[in-house]
Symmetry: C2
C-alpha cells in the first residue's frame, strides 16, 4: 500500500467551534463511545473549530453577520484536509443544512436524524417529547416536522421560559461558566416533564454540557443528548465506511 | 477586510490522536482555560486526530512501524489547512521534536517547556520532582535534562513499577477503560511522593485523564498536568499572536 493510500481511508470531518466546548466534548464522546482497545482502532478525525463563526441564532433573527461564508469555508477546509464525511455538533447550524449539503460533495450527517435514532434506541417510539434548543432552532421548526413525521407529539417552553432557562444555560456554557448552567438546564427539563413530556431532547449542543449525564438519572425519563446521538451516528458511519472500503478490495 | 483576511489570523494546529482521548481532552481544557465570554472570543483551532499513528513507545524500543511519516503528514495537513503554530498533546511524540521542527516552518510549542512553566506557576522552583510518563519518554531523557538544567532533582519509578503502575494506567485510558486507570495512576504518584517527590509531573497525556483533577488534592502537593500545561502555553501563544497581528496594522 502506498504512503498516500496508508494515510487515506474514511476520515470524519467535524465542523465545530459552534460552540468550542460543544465540539471539544463531541470529540471526547466520539472517543469514549467507540469500540477500541488501542489508539489505532479509534476514528481518524479532523476537527475544524472556528468559534468566530457569527452567532447563528442572532443572524436568524436578523441581527449580526451572516454565518454562511464561515460554514462554507469550514466545509471546504475539511474537504481539502481529507475528510470523507461531515458531522456538525451545533443544532442551530443545521438551519443551513440544505445549503451546506448543496455546497459540498461530502455526505453530512444530520443531527436531527441522529437524535431520532437515539430516541428509538432508548425505546421512545411515540408519545410526548419535550424539545429544548436555541430560540432559532425551535422557531425554525428544525425538529418539529421530523418528530411529527415519526408520530411523536412535541411540546416546548413559552418564549419567556425559553429566555429564562435554556437560553441562559446555553449562554453560561459559552461563557465558560458551566457550573452556573446546571440550574437553568434542570429547570427547563423539569418544566417540560411537569407538562407531560415522556422524554426530552437536548437539541442544542451546549445543553448536554450544562446538564451532564450524572445529573440526568434523577428525571427517570429518557433524555436524548444531541452530542452523544451525533457521536453514535458518526461511529456507525465510520464502521459502514470501513466495511465498504474493505469490500471494495 | 476581505473574506480571506477575515478567515485568516492566528490559528492553532493540534497534532493529535496520540491518543485520541488525550487530544479531545486537550480541546476541552483549551476551551475551559481560555478567557472568553462568548464563542467568538475562543481560539480558532484545527485538531488533526489520526489515532493510526504507529505506537511511539513500541517504535522507540525497536518494535512496530515508524510513526515519522504520519507525524510529517499531519504537520503538512495542519499547515495546508491554515494553522499558524502547532501543539502536540503527546509527550512521547516529542522524541521527534527536532525532526518535526526541521520539517515545518510553523512554530511548535514544546510540551516539556510548558510543563516547566507550569511548575514555576505553581511555585515549584527547585527540589525533588517525581517524573511519570511512558517508558520511551523516560528512557529518552526528554524531561530529565530540562529539569536538571532548571535546578530540579528528578526521581523515577523502577522498571518493574513502571510496568505495573503508569504503563497500565496509560493502556487503560487508550482502551477506554478510564475507571480502571485511576488506581494504578494513584499508586504511581504515591510511590514517588513516599520517596521524597515534592511535586509530580504527569508527563504522558493519558495520565491527567487517568488521575482527574478532583482526585489530585488528596496528595497536597503540586501536580503538573502536561495537558493543562500545554493548553496554557497555547493560550499564551494565541494572545501574543493576536497582539502582534494588531500591532502590525
Amino acid at each position: 500500500m502506498s504512503i498516500e493510500g496508508e494515510f487515506g481511508g474514511p476520515r470524519l470531518g467535524v465542523l465545530g467551534g459552534m460552540g468550542p466546548m460543544a465540539s471539544a466534548w463531541f470529540m471526547v464522546r466520539l472517543t469514549a463511545l467507540a469500540q477500541a482497545g488501542v489508539d489505532q482502532e479509534h476514528i481518524p478525525t479532523i476537527l475544524w473549530s472556528d468559534p468566530r463563526v457569527p452567532d447563528r441564532t442572532a443572524h436568524y433573527f436578523g441581527h449580526g453577520a451572516d454565518p454562511w461564508p464561515w460554514l462554507e469555508h469550514g466545509l471546504r477546509a475539511l474537504r481539502s484536509a481529507g475528510a470523507t464525511a461531515v458531522a456538525i455538533p451545533c443544532n442551530t447550524a443545521h438551519l443551513w443544512y440544505e445549503r451546506m449539503a448543496a455546497a459540498t460533495d461530502l455526505p453530512i450527517l444530520h443531527i436531527v436524524d441522529a437524535v431520532v435514532h437515539d430516541l428509538l434506541r432508548q425505546g421512545v417510539r411515540d408519545g410526548t417529547v419535550g424539545l429544548l434548543g436555541t430560540e432559532a432552532t425551535l422557531q425554525s421548526g428544525l425538529y418539529q416536522s421530523a418528530l411529527a413525521n415519526r408520530g411523536y407529539v412535541h411540546i416546548e417552553l413559552t418564549a419567556e421560559e425559553q429566555a429564562q432557562w435554556p437560553s441562559r444555560a446555553i449562554a453560561m456554557v459559552k461563557a465558560n461558566k458551566i457550573d452556573e448552567a446546571l440550574a437553568p438546564a434542570v429547570q427547563a427539563v423539569k418544566l417540560l416533564q411537569s407538562r407531560g413530556a415522556q422524554a426530552v431532547v437536548l437539541g442544542c449542543t451546549e445543553l448536554p454540557i450544562a446538564l451532564p449525564a450524572a445529573q440526568r438519572s434523577a428525571f427517570q425519563m429518557p433524555i436524548a443528548d444531541s452530542i452523544d446521538a451525533l457521536a453514535k451516528d458518526s461511529i456507525a458511519w465510520y464502521q459502514r465506511a470501513v466495511e465498504s472500503a474493505r469490500a471494495a478490495h
